[in-house]
């Protein structure tokens, strides 16, 4: 089908199936749908929209049709994405299965594994979470120690994962485990799929400095996992993990972008006031705001530039590390400035007059922007080594 024809079809479909309420910006968690056995729909509109998309396989538009995916070409996929953006359609399904496990299965999984797991992801029947970091293995992810000891055609898994988002909601987890301790630590890691209902798996939510969070700790106590659940080869899980980490980094840099572009001068003008010439009363705060806005704009245009360069066939490579770093630091500075601009109410933690401490909590939460998904220090290391070619 020609792209123009396809575009028409898409628009007709979206108009019919994505009702007005599903085209409003997502305001909180309850506006999203993550699937899995614990999921419920917020309302009929959400349910209708999800099923319409899942049936066409458009929850994963470019995945192969044989697994239930949309089977669209890259170009057709872009058309669909653009039209959804243009109409403001909410994503019908949020899923670590779609963002992370799926790409790994498509690249490293066996045909049996794809057939087993992809349909459940596409139809939103199985909700996945990610088990990478451990208390002793953060920046040094390869230092992980959750052990998977061979026992016939099973592994016995013992250890603890941390920062497993929504582990308490998920059906299954894809986890990095250590199957060999004898050689270089990057070797001996195995990428393993584990059902959260298996005996010995338990989770505990993590409270952050900003309050409640989707993060959990996940514990494995003599958990039996079939060896058929290894993705890629035994001891070769690091290759799979690295592939997915690049994915994650690009998506985090992108995520902070939208927030970065709200002009901070807006808050300042209303809370600090302006003189008769329209100049901010606090001239010293003003110059710091201007510096921030200059940097934020420069960053925004850099994201645009990289997008264009990628389209023109240039590789972005380790630049995703720079974006992650710069975007994270910008967002942290933004919230420091917001507290200074807004003063009193932005410092309150509870109470209705303060929207439940929204700004203060967001402020605290931004401090994690330079830690999660690879710390700023790790990103700078990557830039130094892989872009600038500086030696270890």
């Amino acid at each position: 089908m020609s792209l123009d024809q396809f575009r028409e079809e898409v628009v007709d479909f979206l108009e019919a199936n994505c009702l007005k309420s599903m085209r409003k910006p997502i305001l909180d968690e309850s506006d999203t749908y993550w699937g899995g056995r614990n999921a419920t729909f917020k309302n009929e509109d959400q349910e209708k929209w999800f099923h319409a998309m899942a049936e066409k396989g458009w929850t994963t538009p470019t995945w192969p049709a044989k697994y239930g995916g949309g089977g669209l070409s890259k170009e057709h996929g872009i058309v669909l994405k653009k039209e959804m953006t243009r109409l403001g359609c909410r994503p019908p399904l949020l899923s670590f299965g779609i963002w992370m496990l799926g790409p790994a299965l498509l690249k490293f999984g066996s045909e049996e594994q794809r057939e087993e797991h992809l349909p459940g992801i596409i139809k939103g029947e199985v909700r996945w979470c990610q088990g990478y970091s451990e208390p002793g293995a953060g920046s040094d992810l390869a230092g992980l120690q959750t052990s998977a000891i061979s026992d016939g055609d099973h592994y016995i898994v013992n250890g603890q994962k941390v920062w497993t988002s929504y582990a308490d909601q998920a059906d299954k987890i894809f986890a990095l485990t250590r199957t060999d301790n004898s050689s270089k630590k990057q070797i001996g890691i195995t990428f393993l799929l584990i059902d959260m209902l298996t005996q010995g798996v338990s989770t505990r939510p993590i409270k952050l400095i900003s309050g409640k969070s989707p993060f959990c700790e996940t514990f494995f106590d003599n958990v039996r996992v079939p060896k058929a659940n290894v993705i890629g080869d035994e001891n070769a899980g690091w290759t799979v993990a690295k592939y997915l980490l690049t994915h994650e980094r690009a998506s985090i840099a992108g995520a902070s972008d939208s927030d970065v572009m709200t002009p901070i001068s807006y808050y300042a003008k209303s809370k600090v006031g302006v003189d008769k010439n329209g100049v901010l009363n606090d001239v010293m705060l003003r110059s710091r705001i201007a510096e921030w806005e200059m940097d934020a704009a420069s960053f925004k245009f850099t994201m645009d530039r990289y997008a264009q360069e990628m389209k023109a066939g240039q590789s972005i490579g380790a630049k995703s590390s720079f974006m992650k770093y710069y975007g994270g630091e910008l967002n942290k500075k933004k919230y420091e400035l917001r507290l200074e601009c807004e003063g009193r109410t932005s410092l309150a933690w509870d109470g209705e007059g303060f929207k439940g401490g929204k700004v203060a909590r967001q402020f605290c939460r931004t401090k994690g922007n330079s830690i999660e998904g690879g710390t700023s220090e790790i990103q700078l290391n990557i830039v130094a080594k892989h872009i600038l070619g500086l030696p270890s």
Partner: protein
């Protein structure tokens, strides 16, 4: 001027450390999690009162210990190290102001308050920011109306020092908290402390209760100076403790088969921060001394001290969370309490840009 402590001052410091062992950061967490109505431990406050802390800077004729601001610098620094909360801050500030500008009746209220542990809270700010020149509170026909924000310790105060506007500028008056027309709305903040919005609705003002009538501008400026000393001293304690904990963590946490404190990228940042804390300490000590000695440069130095400590406290707590990494983001770890207290403390009685601007103006540019 002396940067080195005398024996008496050393003794004050070590007795403060001793008492505050009873009030570790864990106590802040406990008070928060139990939704304690005061936001502080009344046992701790009683112990402070018993030891005469509220009288530390007062002269002997007011029953005080006569340590001057230097003594308060020592106490507040120690309070900053454990993030200890109590009505001490308001007590000390009110004491300084009444000692300098109060009449006989104010001094009677003060001496009674400091001996019994009663609180006199300072109600100056209005709206979002500390801008004492923009005063919407006024007295018409002997009745004061207006609304003050971010009033520390208002929920336990027996009295308020309140600023209001007149045709000839600002004045500051002592108001009984039980007066008709005073209402208090207690709010819970990021630093796990309560601040209140205090509303005065046609509250009767006794002109005798005005501090140094006609000199209100000086009174307010002195409040700003003293608050700067108290808060910047607290911030020195806060940043020093946060920094020491961070350095300890750098020596303990291992990644890539090394202690992370061995990475030069972190070492250089830690060393730079060490230096910033060193210079912040000095400017605070200088400002303390200048205000104790009525030096003409004192107000500019107080603002420099407040601006510098706000800035460095933010850096120190940010670096703390960053260097702790993921664990620093969890509520289980205490470094986040330092981060949060630093932000609120650095906004009370004028934040970074307020004081930097005040200093620049005083320096004639």
């Amino acid at each position: 001027m002396s940067y080195v402590l005398t024996e008496e001052q050393e003794f004050l410091k070590s007795s403060a450390k001793d008492l505050l062992k009873e009030a570790p950061v864990a106590l802040v967490r406990e008070l928060r999690d139990n939704q304690n109505e005061l936001g502080y431990s009344s046992d701790l406050w009683n112990a402070m009162v018993e030891m005469g802390w509220p009288t530390t800077a007062l002269s002997e004729d007011l029953g005080g210990l006569d340590f001057g601001l230097k003594g308060l610098n020592i106490l507040m620094e120690e309070c900053g190290r454990t993030l200890s909360n109590s009505p001490l801050f308001s007590s000390l500030l009110a004491g300084l102001v009444i000692q300098k500008y109060g009449g006989q009746s104010h001094k009677e209220v003060l001496t009674k308050a400091v001996s019994e542990g009663a609180t006199i809270a300072i109600a100056i700010q209005e709206g979002q920011h500390y801008q004492p020149k923009n005063n919407g509170t006024s007295v018409i026909g002997g009745a004061m109306s207006g609304s003050k924000t971010m009033v520390a310790d208002a929920h336990v105060a027996d009295h308020f020092l309140v600023s209001y506007n007149t045709d000839n500028g600002v004045e500051v008056v002592l108001i009984d908290a039980k007066s008709q027309g005073v209402s208090i709305s207690k709010e819970f903040y990021m630093d796990s402390r309560f601040y209140s919005t205090v509303t005065f609705d046609q509250v009767a003002v006794d002109e005798k209760e005005v501090l140094s009538a006609g000199k209100g501008k000086s009174v307010v400026s002195y409040i700003t100076n003293c608050a700067s000393i108290l808060i910047s001293s607290e911030l020195i304690g806060l940043m020093t403790e946060a920094f020491e904990r961070t350095i300890a963590y750098l020596k303990e946490r291992r990644q890539f088969d090394k202690v992370i404190g061995s990475f030069q990228g972190l070492q250089h940042r830690a060393a730079d921060l060490y230096g910033e804390i060193e210079v912040a300490k000095s400017i605070v000590l200088k400002a303390v001394d200048a205000l104790d000695e009525n030096d003409i440069m004192a107000p500019a130095l107080c603002s420099m001290a407040m601006a510098k400590t706000s800035k460095v406290a933010k850096t120190a707590t940010n670096e703390g969370v960053q260097m702790y990494g993921g664990i620093g983001m969890t509520d289980d770890e205490e470094i986040g309490f330092f981060l949060k207290r630093a932000r609120v403390a650095a906004s009370l009685f004028g934040g970074y840009t307020y004081h930097l601007n005040r200093f620049a103006k005083m320096s004639g540019y």
